[in-house]
Symmetry: C2
Subunit: 330 residues, 2 copies
Amino acid sequence: MKKILNDPQNVLDEMLDGFVYANGHLVERVAGTGVIRRTYEDKGKVALVSGGGSGHEPSHAGFVGQGMLSAAVCGEVFTSPTPDQIFEGIKAADQGGGVLLIIKNYTGDVMNFEMAGEMAEAEGITVDHIIVNDDIAVEDSSFTAGRRGVAGTIIVHKIVGAAAEAGLSLQSLKVLGETVIENTKTIGVSILPATVPAVGKPGFELGDDEMEYGVGIHGEPGYRKEKLKSSKEIAEELILKLKEAFGWSKGDKYGVLVNGLGATPLMEQYVFMNDVANKLTEEGLNIQFKKVGSFMTSIDMAGVSLTLIKIVEEKWLDYWNHEVKTVDWM
Amino acid sequence: MKKILNDPQNVLDEMLDGFVYANGHLVERVAGTGVIRRTYEDKGKVALVSGGGSGHEPSHAGFVGQGMLSAAVCGEVFTSPTPDQIFEGIKAADQGGGVLLIIKNYTGDVMNFEMAGEMAEAEGITVDHIIVNDDIAVEDSSFTAGRRGVAGTIIVHKIVGAAAEAGLSLQSLKVLGETVIENTKTIGVSILPATVPAVGKPGFELGDDEMEYGVGIHGEPGYRKEKLKSSKEIAEELILKLKEAFGWSKGDKYGVLVNGLGATPLMEQYVFMNDVANKLTEEGLNIQFKKVGSFMTSIDMAGVSLTLIKIVEEKWLDYWNHEVKTVDWM
């Protein structure tokens, strides 16, 4: 394992302290916890809390701030935060208007966030939740019943975050979030596996000339290994899968997110975006917004994912374009 | 070589097209060139043009936009753009107020940017330039007489960019830029080398357990190879080198930039930032701003660099904090 670290057991603490040191104008850490909350207060409005295991940086702490998340609960690397920690996050985020939990669909996350929600309800905080399951690669997985939650989660943060700032009720935000989730689908490829610091070796194996379609953001198995394909071929296969899942028609309105998985440089992400653009144009889709970057990573995994969201309401575009103040979204 | 690409000879074109497709609300490509210019116009003010070989993404095109660069000239990977290309960039950027070129100190870049400046002067555009040489690792290098220009260039873009928007004259911006450069110093480490797509293999060698201090952003040799050290030890050595170069005293005001070199995930960058923070606190410096991210990369090199800037004028902080609209700075 070749990483710039100290004690692999201490990564979470040191990373969060470094994050808060660098970004103290936007975020703070709730002492003794893995909770990062925004310094911005929005009294009376619904607070959004997300999080999960660490190793997906800048998710989720990088999206805490005005117009997106109120707080992120950061567990150990690839490990769900405990209900106690999430409960701390809910309390830190609550502004008196209730709290919506945005949970990626992993069994541990769902269980722990729901339990924390019940703990908060018992203390008089109104809590509801939505579960993101955008990864169409496989049904059920190592840590998941159903489909996994991956990069589409960031789109949920953005759209629901802007709506929360606009003052929508908890119930309306839940409905909005669920509609966005229904219309958001992702699929990715990995060309190099990730290494969890405390484990010290890659989570799965790939030959020197191999790639894998559909790998999860914790290295969960995908649906096919084969020789490394060109960017264009990868774009074509992923878009074919998305087309099957969406069943789109020419002229339909979509937004697109190309996401780097951690060790993939922007050079490759933009080449891939170019192939995606060509293919989407060929499909005749009406693309309303585009975004490229490493937003939902898997530590040092190399690879990309492609997320499409079908724009069901024009209002979503306003929410998408609404200005935010976070560390990693602009 | 394991990368998500098509023809390695065609990377620049595809990457720029992907970049502009994704970010057409902020930037456009001057047809048939490697020039990315902002869509924002600022008539009568001084335009800033930077650039150089590609492979340092998001530098420099990601910093084109209101409040930073007017245009970036993107050469082939690790290859200076030609004078013709830079001349196109100058013409595309000029708003009638003259053009300041921000050049990283590599022999080819300096020669070609200066030649382009003369071509533009011959057509009646007032041009001046500044040369960034912030890398204190070594004196002279594979492609450089004197010190190399690396991540400190981004600080120059930010501060001089805000000053240009504020309406400073070409002469004042040149003086400001040169003062910022005098007070900006960087040093880095590499733990994995970069691979230029058209070459297909790493630019230098490092053993499985080795790192190198002072490697340049094109893989130029540094000053010492040794066994991989901890983040804390790396932070201590780099800060010691910077201390020798600056000769600081307790209470001096500085800004700090931790920069990932391409394949290094934010997890490691933040752990490293935490060690840097502890050491700077021990040194008694008064840190006025901090920033962490992959801004000046070397394709898929793994490693980090550390830049410090001595704050000589309070006004620099206003320029630093001034809002910008670019793809990759916020």
